[in-house]
């Protein structure tokens, strides 16, 4: 009965109801948009950082991370690779063999990091081919290498020159080899730029005297939220001889930077809620003021104040619920749109980003959790504010109210 009454009340004054509902809806849309944007930007930042080199997760022989020497490599077998690929959420598995070595050209020698990897898979993980500025991308058949531009410049090498590599091989052997340079890569990070040498994994294994071995498997995943669960599953699947690490464990400084940044955003969000709350409040305030006469009338003709309060409560509830739902419905396509076509910025800022290898975009994420949380928060907020009319109705003096 109350429902019917409430419903009719609401639609009696369409405009008023619509306006009030709209304030709630907008609140939901904005809150959802803000949070989705925030998370989207952070997730994108993480994505950019992990695709620099590390990938989201890595699998190594246990103890490798603390002592990154070729002795701590593991035998690369197909089962391990396959199993890694089967873990839900893992998109690409890149086997790598990595070692510190000496790069030499003519009289100049410089320390470098040799990364033997699978060209196609590596490209999926780190978009390596996109960093090529000269020459051509390496391939599995060739025995050629690609250098970071900084390293190439230091050694005075360019495409088709020969690079000499020297280092500590597996089981004490001496690693030495000559390789033609097929391409030069430019990395955003100066460290990578000045030290990376990429080779096809088989050539690197031969160089290091470590045929059939790898130092790490780098993983790309589809859903950042699944990071820890994938880590656990991989650890179980690989067994106790291996360690599975997330990017957070491999790069704790970056993780802390990101967390530090997000602390500031809590304040932003708080202020947004404040403004939203105020928006809803002001609407309700106006509404109450406008209906003073109506309330006064009702009380004058005998409606118990309590009843009036309840009725208003029901109205508030309905408006809030509907407003929230509409807000969600509106927010959905909006967030989806900004995920597919994120805001791209240009100019100096974009150039700086791209120089670092970051995409100059502000994407959003489409996550039901955000929608639900924000909806609940706004709903709660709106409902609390909606108690004001109820309260004011309770204090109404019919005579005064009708004096208009």
């Amino acid at each position: 009965m109350i429902v019917k009454l409430t419903w009719r009340n609401l639609w009696r004054n369409k405009r008023r109801t619509m306006i009030t509902m709209a304030s709630v809806s907008f609140a939901v849309v904005l809150a959802v948009l803000m949070q989705s944007l925030q998370k989207g930007v952070f997730d994108n930042l993480i994505k950019n950082v992990v695709s620099f080199y590390s990938g989201y997760l890595q699998v190594h022989k246990k103890g490798y991370w603390d002592e990154q020497v070729i002795e701590n490599s593991f035998a690369l077998n197909d089962t391990l690779l396959k199993e890694a690929g089967y873990v839900a959420g893992v998109q690409t598995v890149v086997p790598r063999i990595e070692s510190y070595a000496l790069a030499s050209s003519g009289a100049i020698t410089k320390g470098c990091m040799v990364c033997g990897t699978d060209p196609l898979r590596e490209d999926k993980l780190t978009q390596l081919s996109g960093k090529l500025i000269k020459g051509s991308y390496f391939s599995t058949e060739a025995n050629s290498v690609m250098l970071g531009a900084g390293l190439a410049e230091l050694l005075g090498l360019t495409v088709n020159d020969t690079l000499v590599l020297l280092g500590q091989g597996f089981q004490g052997s001496l690693a030495a080899g000559k390789y033609p340079v097929s391409g030069i890569l430019r990395f955003g990070s100066p460290q990578l730029n000045e030290s990376m040498v990429y080779m096809p994994i088989s050539a690197a294994q031969k160089f290091l005297g470590a045929e059939g071995r790898a130092t790490s498997l780098a993983l790309e995943i589809t859903d950042l939220g699944m990071l820890e669960s994938i880590q656990q599953e991989m650890a179980v699947s690989a067994g106790p001889l291996y360690e599975v690490m997330t990017w957070k464990e491999m790069m704790p400084d970056i993780e802390n930077h990101i967390r530090a940044d997000s602390a500031g955003f809590y304040i932003w969000t708080g202020i947004l809620y404040l403004i939203i709350a105020f928006g809803i409040f002001s609407t309700l305030l106006m509404m109450t003021a406008e209906r003073k006469y109506e309330f006064g009338m009702l009380v004058a003709i005998g409606m118990k104040k309590m009843r009036l309060g309840l009725m208003l409560l029901a109205e508030t509830f309905m408006i809030t619920v509907m407003g929230t739902l509409i807000g969600l419905l509106l927010g959905l396509p909006l967030v989806w749109y900004f995920r597919e076509k994120p805001v791209r910025f240009s100019g100096k800022m974009a150039k700086a980003y791209e120089q670092f290898g970051f995409e100059p975009i502000f994407p959003t994420v489409l996550e039901p959790q955000i929608f639900i949380t924000q909806a609940l928060i706004v709903f709660g907020l709106a409902f609390l504010i909606g108690l004001y009319p109820v309260w004011s109705a309770g204090r109404i003096d019919p005579v005064k109210a009708m004096k208009k």
Partner: protein, 403 residues
């Protein structure tokens, strides 16, 4: 005449007026405070980088930074530092001898950057003495003092008074090595930095490198950030053959960070303004709705639509103008208060504090930004008021009266 009506209208409906006023005030307060807060955050990052790592300006031999080859040192480094100290706008200046080499202990070895520094200048330039967590700063009591990062000490199993052997290629291309004693262990926010940077006296570095008394890097800290361009230009003129870089060129990551934060701020301000706009639109709509009867009356009395529009607009303008001081005042007070005390972010992120990173943000506002925000809020408020005002015009007088 219109003014008078508008003015009286405001007072007639106090509730509505107060609501709009407060909306504008809150919008202003929020906008100003947020901007100041963000400024504070950015400034804190920059400040921390400049004052404890890169300084404002660095000078090198043009070939030096390519490979840190010891051959490319700064001729007359000592006298340069002396004259730079007296340069207008320069607060501190210090010379360094930077060498890339290896540090070894019985437990192992690691590649390090050996920073040969001038003890007192360095303390002023990068607050090195303040970063020490164990032991003490250079004091000249022991020969060949060295200060290492905590991470490196752990890696090489070094403690206070331990010995570490530094090896590198000297000025003539020969291998030089020396034994150094740990007098202090430092720690910064940046663990990779701690792992690869060790500090010795420039004098000791120079002797070992075969370049006694020389520097290959000079760092300057300025009195004011704003002097950066001016001083850089002056130095470029004075030393045309040398490389003079400001902190943004030395550390492009910092520049990126600053730009990124600026961009984000604009975006979020936009969203906040949007929220404000909706709030005001809703309120005004409601108000117009409430005044249907009144407006209808006016229309039927012959007041033309344009004037009604103007009236509503004026009311809004008054309210907005009144709202301004109401918003600015609390905003200024908040900023002044938090500026002194700072906002401690550690309640949000406890990992922050484990780094010694300053968790405290000191909001501050640049004069230009202040005006910009005011303009933004006022324009938002006015535009938001326009929409309902137009609606008012579409009311039909006959219907309106009957309401």
């Amino acid at each position: 005449m219109l003014f008078k009506i508008a003015w009286r209208n405001i007072w007639r409906n106090k509730t509505r007026s107060i609501v709009i006023l407060v909306a504008v005030a809150i919008g202003l307060w929020a906008g100003i405070f947020l901007m100041a807060f963000y400024n504070g955050m950015i400034e804190q990052r920059i400040r921390s980088a400049i004052e404890s790592e890169i300084s404002h300006i660095q000078i090198h031999h043009p070939e030096f930074r390519k490979d840190y080859d010891l051959r490319f040192f700064l001729p007359e480094g000592q006298s340069m530092v002396e004259s730079l100290k007296k340069e207008a706008g320069v607060k501190f200046a210090g010379g360094r001898m930077i060498i890339n080499g290896m540090a070894a202990s019985a437990a192992g070895s690691a590649g390090v950057r050996i920073n040969g520094v001038t003890a007192d200048s360095e303390a002023a330039l990068t607050k090195l003495s303040g970063k020490i967590v164990s032991g003490k700063y250079f004091s000249g009591e022991v020969k060949n003092e060295i200060i290492v990062g905590k991470k490196l000490a752990k890696k090489l199993k070094l403690e206070l008074h331990s010995k570490t052997i530094l090896t590198f290629t000297d000025h003539d291309g020969d291998i030089a090595s020396g034994a150094f004693r740990i007098v202090g262990i430092y720690q910064t926010v940046n663990t990779p930095y701690d792992e690869s940077n060790v500090f010795i006296r420039a004098e000791d570095a120079g002797i070992l490198a075969g370049l006694p008394g020389q520097f290959n890097e000079i760092a300057l800290l300025l009195e004011k950030d704003e002097d950066l361009d001016r001083v850089s230009a002056a130095l470029l003129k004075k030393y045309p053959l040398l490389e003079v870089n400001n902190w943004m060129e030395i550390s492009p990551e910092m520049e990126l960070l600053v730009m990124a934060m600026d961009q984000m701020m604009i975006f979020y301000m936009g969203i906040i303004m949007l929220a404000l706009a909706f709030g005001i639109i809703n309120t005004m709509l409601m108000s117009v709705l409430e005044r249907t009867r009144e407006i209808g009356m006016l229309l039927s009395l012959g007041m033309n639509k344009l004037r009604i529009f103007g009236m509503i607009l004026l009311e809004t303008v008054f309210l907005v103008l009144a709202g301004c001081p109401a918003g600015i005042l609390p905003a200024m007070l908040t900023i002044l208060y938090t500026r002194k005390k700072g906002i401690d972010l550690s309640i949000f992120s406890d990992t922050f504090s484990s780094f010694g990173y300053s968790n405290v943000v000191f909001p501050s506002l640049k004069p230009g930004q202040f005006g910009m925000i005011m303009l933004l809020v006022v324009i938002t408020a006015l535009i938001s008021a326009l929409f309902p005002a137009r609606r008012a015009l579409s009311l039909k007088p006959a219907e309106a009266i009957r309401k």
